[in-house]
Every structure is written in C-alpha cells, then in structure tokens.
Symmetry: C2
C-alpha cells in the first residue's frame, strides 16, 4: 500500500514546503530583487524535497504541530539549496545544469550565486530561531545547534572540502575515508532532517538515536543510488550532467565496491534503517516506504 | 582618561576573543586541515575586533557573565570574518590583501575560501546556539534570530548585493540609497554587536533600543571614516588596497557629500551616539570613548 501512496505524499509535502518557502523568503521585489529572485529560484519548485519530507514525517511520529514542522522542513531545504548553489560554482564542481535548469551562476552571475547561497544559509537559521517555529526557546536553540553541527566545518562543508581534496590527491581514498567523506558531505544533513522531528517532539534520547541511525543509513544508501544513477542515467533523466563523477575520478563507494556489491550494500542499509523504526509501528510506514524508495528510484 | 585607556582595553579584548576563537574553531589538524586553517587564518590575530569589543562592553553594562559575552563576541567576529573572505573573492571585490596579509583565496584557493566563509557563518550560529553561551534557550534563540536578521538577505548580504549592483548601474545612487546600502552592508552587524549585550543581559526594550541607536550611529560614522581612510591612507597604513572605492566609482557618503561635509556629519553622528548612552552613566565611558575613536582613528 505505502509504496503506492508514497509518491503522492512526497509530492504533497513538496508543494506544502514550496508554499512555506514562498512566504519565508524575501519577496522578489525592491532594489535587491536579483538576490531575492536567485534565492527563490534555488529552492522553490525544484527537487523532490526529500529532506523536508523527512522532517515532516518524523515530526508526525510525535504529533508535532504542522506549522512548526513545515518551518523546519523549509529551513532544511534552504540549507540544502545553499549547498547546491555553492557546490555548482566554477571554483567548485563547475556545473551548468541543476534540476534541469541553468545553475544560479549561469542564470545570474557568480557574485549573485555566492550571495544567494550565503543568504539562504542565514535564512535557514533565522527560520529555525524565530518564535513562530516553536514557543519553547530551548527547542529552537537546539534546532539551530544541531543544524549548524550537521552543516558546518565538521559536517557538510567539511565533507565538501574532503571531496575537493580527493580530486587532486595522488592516491585514491580507501573505503573508510570514502565512507567518512560521504557521511559528512550528504549524510549529516539527512541525519539532521530525520532527527528534527524528534527534537520538535521532545522525544526521549533513545528514540532520537533511532531516528539518527535511520537517517544515517538511508543517507548512505541514497548516495550509492545517486552514484549508480550518475553512472547509468542520461542527463535528461537526471536533470543535471551525468558521468562526471567517474570522469573526474571522484571517490565514491560505487567506485570502490563496483555496482553489484554497492547495490547489495545499499539493500542491507535499507533493511537496517527500517528495523530502527519498528518501535514506531504503522505510524512509520511512510518512512519505511521512503527507505525502499531511496534505492528503487530511477531519477 | 578613557581615550587613553581605550587602546589598551581594545587590545586586551581582542586578545581575549582570539583565545576564544582558537578554542571554538576546529583545530588545524586532520584531513580537512586546509579548511580549518583557513577559518582560523581569517579570524584569529587579524583586525582590531571592534565588533567583539562592542559585545563585551555592552554586556558589561548589564553585568553579564564574561564567559557568555566572550562567546557571543567570538561569534560576531566569525560572522564578520566570513563576510570579509567572501567579499574579497575574485567574483566580488577581488582583493589580494586584507589586514596586511594575502586574502584567503590567495593564500589557498577560491574553493577553500568559499568553504571557509561558509563554515565560519555556520560556526557563528553553532556558537550562539550552544548551551555554554547561556543557560536560557530563549536568549540563545534570540541571539541566533537577531544575528541572522542582521547578516542575511535583508541585512549585510542584501547590502553587499546593492553594492555589486551599484558598480554596474548607469546612474549614481542618491543619498538615501547610499545610506541604506551602507546601513545594510556594515551597519546591521555593528548594530547587532551593540544590541547583543542587552539581549544577554535581558535589558528592557527601551535600553536595547538605545544600544541599537548607538550601534547604528557609530556604524555610519565608522563607514565614513573608513571611506576617508581609503581616500588618504597608503596601502601600508591600511593593510589593504586603498583608493579602490574612488577608482571603482563606489557609492559612498563621502563621494556624495565631499570630505568636509562627510567629516562634519560623522562628528554629529558620534555626538548623537554618545547621548544615547547617557542613561548608563560612567559605566558607558569606554563605549563613549570608542565612539570618539571611530572618527579619530588613523588606520
């Protein structure tokens, strides 16, 4: 049943998050309009917003008010959007296409892309910290702290740095180093998204740990699936340039394990992720379906 | 008296903030060392840390614990450091020299500079949001919110966007537009630094308003003084390229008013800023001395 309802639930959540982003981001007007327009372009209407969906679904487990969950979901997507805008810059991955559209520095220019990314990160924290997100300041401060830990030098940005260094390294990375790189670069933000519902719902520590473990495992599986798509999909299917990772000699689990063993490892991760959610019973059905979806998706 | 003790007080505060930054930023070790090193290079040991000094001195008005004030001062300097690293990038102001040293993208490369700036912003919020900053989560969340408002699309980054747009505009900006640009680009963060002590000290709203007004006026005066220095100082005195603003036709109050009227306006702003502090009596002597210092400094 749930594998059928999942696509509709994801699409519905994405629409809801887009509506929130349209309200939370500065209106596309005034002297600074190009900045505001670039911020909106990079977040609204693009991508499946799976990180935001994770926030909404984990928040649902604890009966969190929808308005709170939506704001946190929007904040996570702002942070994710910022990371994509900066990763696409010429000095970084130098990508011209993202989600089937020109990247921000192509549609505007590099300065606007740098500033739009900067401001999206700031807006993510502004959104979490505002009283509208939750009446309890301790919860808002915890959300800010956990997001910052996931996104900063010892999280996502640290992972991106490792990725840049790996490209110019003389020796290929070993399995442990590749796992760590990807866990930092993409895993930490997915973990935060999964944990966020538990923070909002003031869940007991063991339950928050389960959400984190679920997030960690689907994050790694998601990365393997992404690498497999990069290998096999056409640019039209992926909405971005493909085959670049292999061409650049990027350090991926796929490259280390080969397609067959990588796919098996992803299947094992998904089984483990779903087992973490046993304790929530049927309320976690969509989260289990999402885990299955991560490795079955075709784009 | 205070104009004599001020330089020592500023130097002492800067040393204390540097010590805090050295602890709060990731150690210069491990695989990501270049990222961590660039973050430290951009913040520790450079500049007079006047924004951090503002936090410390306004916090002192309300008897805030020194440990809390130092963390917030360090966070403001991380945020300021990030803005300098990104402003110096080739796609932005394209500067090779900052505080007498090569800029981050010159000492490392553009990718490292983008990532170091990104991570410094994140670390500023992590620092404010952590329980070590204050036991009351409401205060930590308020600090995050106010910093984000000062630094984001409708604050500092919005001002930087206006600055980039002004450079390619066909008509020069009018006085109101120039004031708004500079108030956003440099004023808002200085205002936050001045307000932060009041937030930490749970000051009544009217007192927080006075701190904000003080911050706004010395911020504008500071900008005028900076423009005057850009006009008259040698690169050796300023520790960075000078004369660039005039050459680039940058929109400055100085350019609109001319040196004499600009200097008079700054003097008027400083008198107004000091009047805001009357209510605090002698406890605000150093803040008054700082206001005087802003327009008398030579580098």
């Amino acid at each position: 049943m749930n594998l059928e309802t999942l696509p509709a639930a994801i699409a519905e959540a994405a629409a809801e998050i887009d509506t929130a982003l349209a309200v939370l981001l500065p209106p596309d007007a005034g002297e600074e309009a190009p900045l505001f327009a670039a911020m909106r372009y990079a977040t609204i209407g693009g991508g499946k917003k799976l990180r935001g969906f994770l926030v909404l679904e984990t928040a649902r487990l604890f009966g969190v008010a929808r308005g709170s969950a939506i704001r946190v979901a929007a904040a996570v997507e702002m942070l994710h959007g910022y990371s994509l805008v900066h990763d696409d810059l010429p000095a970084m991955d130098d990508d011209d296409l993202r989600r089937g559209k020109p990247t921000v520095h192509k549609a505007w220019d590099e300065a606007t892309a740098i500033l739009a990314g900067d401001a999206l990160q700031t807006q993510a924290f502004a959104t979490l910290a505002a009283p509208e997100t939750h009446a309890d300041g301790e919860i808002r401060a915890t959300l800010c702290l956990r997001l910052a830990q996931a996104a900063g030098a010892q999280g996502m940005v640290g992972g991106q740095m490792l990725d840049m260094l790996a490209e110019v390294a003389t020796a290929p990375l070993e399995r442990g180093a590749v796992l760590r790189l990807q866990q930092l670069k993409t895993g930490r933000l997915i973990e935060f998204a999964a944990e966020a519902g538990g923070i909002l719902g003031q869940a007991a520590a063991p339950l928050r740990q389960r959400l984190l473990a679920y997030g960690r495992d689907i994050g790694t599986a998601f990365q393997i699936a992404d690498d497999l798509l990069d290998l096999t999909a056409t640019p039209e299917q992926a909405g971005k340039a493909t085959g670049k990772d292999a061409a650049a000699g990027k350090a991926t689990l796929l490259g280390l394990l080969g397609p067959e063993r990588a796919r098996l490892y992803a299947v094992e991760l998904i089984a483990r992720a779903k087992a973490e959610l046993d304790v929530f019973g049927a309320r976690a059905d969509l989260l289990c379906a999402l885990a299955d979806h991560v490795i079955s998706r075709r784009h």
